[in-house]
């Protein structure tokens, strides 16, 4: 692809990502959401975050695979469950992942 084509691609991606973030707020304006919608909103982050966790820890494109990062995130989960600080859990996840890879696992 030529440089111009790349820039058109970048511009189109900017437009689409701006639209996905802007359409909702523009549509709701200052209207309050109905109570049922508020209940959905309150639950939305649990569903999306859980999906982001499993897809980033277990998926590689369209392949499901268990790797060193899966183990790292599992250790973070264990630490969080034992009420460890967020930073401790995140650093442990990276350290375990890096350690396993250094050992040639995953």
């Amino acid at each position: 692809m030529s440089a111009a084509t790349w820039w058109v691609l970048v511009a189109l991606c900017v437009v689409t990502t701006a639209l996905t973030r802007g359409v909702g707020p523009a549509a709701t304006a200052d209207r309050e959401l109905p109570p049922a919608a508020v209940r959905v909103v309150v639950l939305l982050s649990s569903a999306l975050l859980a999906a982001l966790v499993v897809t980033s820890a277990l998926a590689d494109g369209t392949d499901l695979r268990i790797g060193a990062d899966t183990a790292g995130v599992a250790v973070a989960g264990l630490l969080l469950w034992r009420r460890a600080h967020v930073l401790v859990a995140v650093v442990a996840a990276a350290a375990v992942t890096a350690g396993l890879r250094a050992l040639g696992v995953g």
Binding site: G24, R39, V41, V42, S45, L48, L49, V54, A93, A95
Partner: protein, 151 residues
């Protein structure tokens, strides 16, 4: 090119429902709200939630602002220090671990736990058959149980 733009749109498609959730907590006319909505990033959006359906607008801007600066700095470092092997450093585990931390703080009752498990299961089931981004968007539909269950 259409396929590439479509793929990019799918990956950011989760920001669509997030925007509808956030909308009423922003300020100004529709255009201004659409501009303010550009500060929507996963972590800041989730952590700006006050738990009653409203969002802390200033917190969202502050969190996203700091994240943006660090994100750009990280990209610059990656470009100028190509020897840096992010996989060897285990940095790809940082995002899921961080999202997990927010999720653990978020799941305070059985309903939220059920929604999280359902969302994770739906996403995993779709990964092998759907293009990246779609599994997360569909997982968001697990929150629709809120339409039926009174809080």
């Amino acid at each position: 090119m259409g396929a590439a733009v479509g793929a990019a749109a799918l990956v950011s498609s989760r920001f669509l429902p997030m925007g509808f959730a956030l909308g009423p907590s922003l300020r100004g006319n529709r255009l201004r709200r659409a501009l303010e909505g550009q500060a929507t990033v996963d972590a800041s959006w989730a952590m700006a939630a006050r738990g009653d359906g409203r969002y802390d607008r200033e917190y969202l801007f502050g969190h996203s602002g700091i994240q943006y600066v660090l994100w750009v700095l990280g990209t610059v470092v990656g470009v100028f220090v190509p020897a840096l092997d992010t996989r060897a450093l285990g940095l790809d585990a940082v995002f899921p671990a961080f999202f997990l931390a927010i999720l653990v703080a978020e799941v305070r009752d059985r309903l939220r736990l059920g929604v999280a498990v359902a969302g994770a299961a739906a996403a995993l089931a779709l990964v092998p058959v759907a293009p990246p981004g779609l599994p997360v968007l569909v997982a968001g539909a697990a929150a629709l149980i809120g339409l039926r269950v009174p809080r």
